[in-house]
């Protein structure tokens, strides 16, 4: 072994971490270990994903044919409000947070997060905040029913009385505090706890996206927390921040909400961009194409995302159209850079279509379809026609389904061996992928046409015979495939846990530091670290400078022949 590839042992800590409790329920309730907290985040947010999905399924059942069948208009309003709230606040962001919790300390070569107890506090605030929101269903008037955006004056106590709306506000505020604390923690970890040699431009790109997202959270989340408390003051204390009768301004709420809300979309999307940016090089056997361009594109997306908020408000007629049209069109450029980079990473590579890669490619397709309708909506003239129609619903679901669902499954299949030491079943995973891919296109592709035909969103009913019936039926039938796909994933978890096949420490021949430690990693993460000389330290450790294979080998026999250096 050449000296450059020597592995340096880390001495064990003074007061070795033997005092973390065991695997019992108390152990999980009181843990401060970033890996356990990460797994808790992933599990909890997946549970919320299932809840949000069930609410969506109820809506699609109602919309399968004209007329009111299952739920009344009032209940329907609650369904779409809580569906949007759960998916945005309780599923997508926390799922990314969960992956980041598990991975960022491993990626930078640190033993834990910078503030482990604060990390636990973030998780518990998120859980209780989520439960507070959902418990609105138990109140006499039901849960909040003014949409996940909570626009005033609809959300004031004249039009939306009842405790459900207040619980929505206070619950979301708790999850907002949780996200802000996590952002502080992640930034401190990356700034202060990087291993020797792990310079900023050697950080894994997932961790880079989390750095950028943390900045966005620090700028955006305090704004929504403030707006929510202003709304609560309006509802409970007659404060008139947003009521014209008292000298307030309802449009101000929209500005505050979307100053948070549009960065929020990228706070959801960027970490999942990071996930596929980690996965595609591994399964293409190539380094990522244009590492620095991806970093710069990530920073640019974040920067632009802070300046596009009022494109949600074109139809108010009270904003600077040109400014927001321009910035919104511009943001497509750095996003395009990323897509080119993913494609060129695959170009000429020796592709392996294991489940994570299948999902990563599925992500590119689904996200691209959603992304392409974005610049259309950035054009003021077009937007006025399709505002508040199913065209917008289709656009945002393609974008968010691509990122938060397809890329999430890519990440879960990819890192499951690191989480638990065994892989998820490949066969079931591939069937699940095709069910999800076909199902989500059946659900959301027809909604573009529905929107262009003028069908407004957020209505429980629609007239018969004006071109809405068949498309809605298709859209509802596709939901069954998506539900089956999610069910299959749960079956896959159960089956692979019952008969676990040890995956080894590095089943995919990864590049980044998490693959240099055991699966699952020890409490303090690394017994030893390889030297960090590039963005791919584990790759460098596997291959000597003259192309000789030094370490590793894959678990499956059919890949053992992959001997030449990519």
């Amino acid at each position: 072994m050449s000296p450059a590839l020597a592995v340096t042992d880390r001495p064990a800590a003074a007061g070795d971490p033997g005092d973390q409790p065991g695997a019992g329920i108390v152990g999980w309730l009181t843990t401060t270990d970033h890996k356990r907290i990460g797994i808790l985040y992933v599990g909890t947010s997946f549970a919320f994903f299932v809840v949000g999905g069930l609410l969506a399924a109820l809506m699609r059942a109602e919309l399968a044919e004209p007329g009111l069948q299952f739920v009344g208009s009032q209940r329907y309003n609650q369904l779409f409000t809580i569906h949007g709230t759960v998916m945005m606040f309780l599923f997508a962001v926390p799922m990314a947070t969960g992956l980041a919790n598990f991975l960022v300390p491993l990626h930078v070569g640190a033993p834990d997060m910078a503030f482990p107890r604060l990390n636990a506090l973030s998780y518990w605030l998120y859980v209780t905040g989520g439960l507070v929101v959902l418990s609105g269903f138990l109140t006499s008037r039901g849960a909040a029913d003014f949409g996940w955006t909570g626009y005033t004056p609809l959300s004031d106590n004249t039009y939306s009385p009842g405790a459900g709306g207040d619980l929505w506000i206070t619950g979301i505020a708790l999850t907002g505090v949780a996200s802000t604390l996590t952002a502080v923690n992640l930034l401190s970890t990356v700034i202060g706890l990087r291993a020797p040699g792990m310079t900023m431009f050697r950080l894994p790109l997932f961790t880079w996206t989390m750095v950028v997202v943390s900045f966005m959270i620090l700028i955006a989340f305090p704004v929504i927390t403030a707006a929510l408390f202003m709304l609560l003051a309006d509802r409970r204390l007659e404060a008139h921040f947003f009521t014209p009768a008292g000298g307030g301004d309802p449009i101000l709420y929209q500005h505050l909400f979307w100053f948070f809300g549009h960065p929020e979309v990228y706070i959801v999307a960027l970490p999942f961009f990071g996930v596929v940016t980690e996965i595609i090089p591994v399964f293409s056997r190539q380094p990522i194409f244009a590492y620095k361009a991806i970093v710069i594109a990530t920073v640019l997306i974040a920067a632009y995302s802070l300046t596009v908020w009022a494109h949600h408000m074109f139809t108010t007629g009270a904003i600077a159209d040109g400014f927001f049209s321009g910035t919104t069109l511009l943001i497509a450029v750095p996003t395009g850079i990323k897509i080119f980079s993913w494609v060129f990473t695959m170009w000429g590579g020796r592709l392996r279509f294991d489940t994570p890669m299948l999902y990563a490619v599925g992500f590119i397709v689904v996200f691209l379809i959603g992304g392409l309708t974005g610049p259309m909506l950035a054009v003021r003239a077009f937007d006025s026609h399709v505002h508040d129609t199913y065209f917008v619903v289709a656009h945002m679901h393609y974008v968010l389904l691509g990122t938060a669902v397809f890329a999430m499954f890519a990440g879960l299949f990819f890192w499951w061996p690191k989480f638990f030491g065994h892989r998820l079943g490949e066969g079931l995973g591939k069937v699940q992928f095709w069910l999800l891919f076909v199902g989500s296109n059946i659900v959301f592709l027809p909604q573009h046409v529905l929107g262009l035909r003028g069908m407004p969103r957020r209505f429980a009913d629609y007239p018969e015979g004006i071109g809405y019936d068949t498309l809605n039926l298709w859209s509802s039938l596709g939901t069954v495939l998506i539900a089956l796909a999610v069910l299959l994933f749960l079956v896959n978890i159960a089956v692979s846990a019952r008969r676990p096949v040890p995956a080894g420490d590095d089943p995919w021949e990864g590049n980044t530091l998490e693959w240099a430690t055991s699966s699952p990693p020890p409490l303090h993460n690394f017994h030893s670290l390889p030297p960090i000389r590039s963005a791919r330290p584990v790759f460098d450790q596997r291959w000597g400078p003259d192309g000789e294979r030094l370490r590793g080998g894959v678990v499956e026999g059919d890949r053992a022949g992959d001997g030449d250096r990519p």
């Binding site: 401060t32 107890r117 636990a120 518990w124 708790l174 700034i191 990087r194 900023m200 620090l218």
Partner: protein
């Protein structure tokens, strides 16, 4: 550290001119305030980090040829930071915060005791020390 400070300053350097441009193009105040204050906040953070790291040489985490044994940004000794023990306080703080959240939606008779519970949990969190 230098790259971290630069990236923070970049966000500030982006937001302030954008805020000025927005001021010129729009007569809407919320956006002007949000953009400019966001930029000022980022410059403040960058300035703090510049001050906090003034005079310290680049750590091994910024050294491209540092060996794994060279320690972390916290010091030159390659000692693993002790992993903190488990703590019950984070979950209790969250429980207290949830009671306050319910109280704000219903009645002071819930949020007043909730606030007391939250204060106790915060005190427990603050007073907890590593063994």
């Amino acid at each position: 550290m230098r790259a971290s400070i630069l990236s923070i300053a970049f966000v500030g350097a982006w937001l302030v001119p954008t805020g000025v441009l927005y001021w010129i193009l729009s007569d809407e105040y919320a956006g002007i305030v949000l953009l400019l204050l966001g930029g000022v906040a980022m410059f403040g953070l960058a300035a703090y980090l510049v001050g906090a790291t003034r005079g310290t040489p680049p750590g091994p985490d910024d050294d491209e040829s540092a060996d794994p044994g060279a320690g972390t940004a916290d010091g030159p000794v390659p000692v693993l930071r002790a992993v903190p023990p488990a703590s019950v306080w984070p979950a209790l703080i969250a429980a207290g915060a949830a009671i306050v959240a319910y109280g704000l939606a219903f009645t002071p008779w819930i949020w007043l005791p909730g606030l007391a519970f939250l204060a106790l949990a915060l005190a427990g969190y603050a007073r907890e020390t590593s063994p």
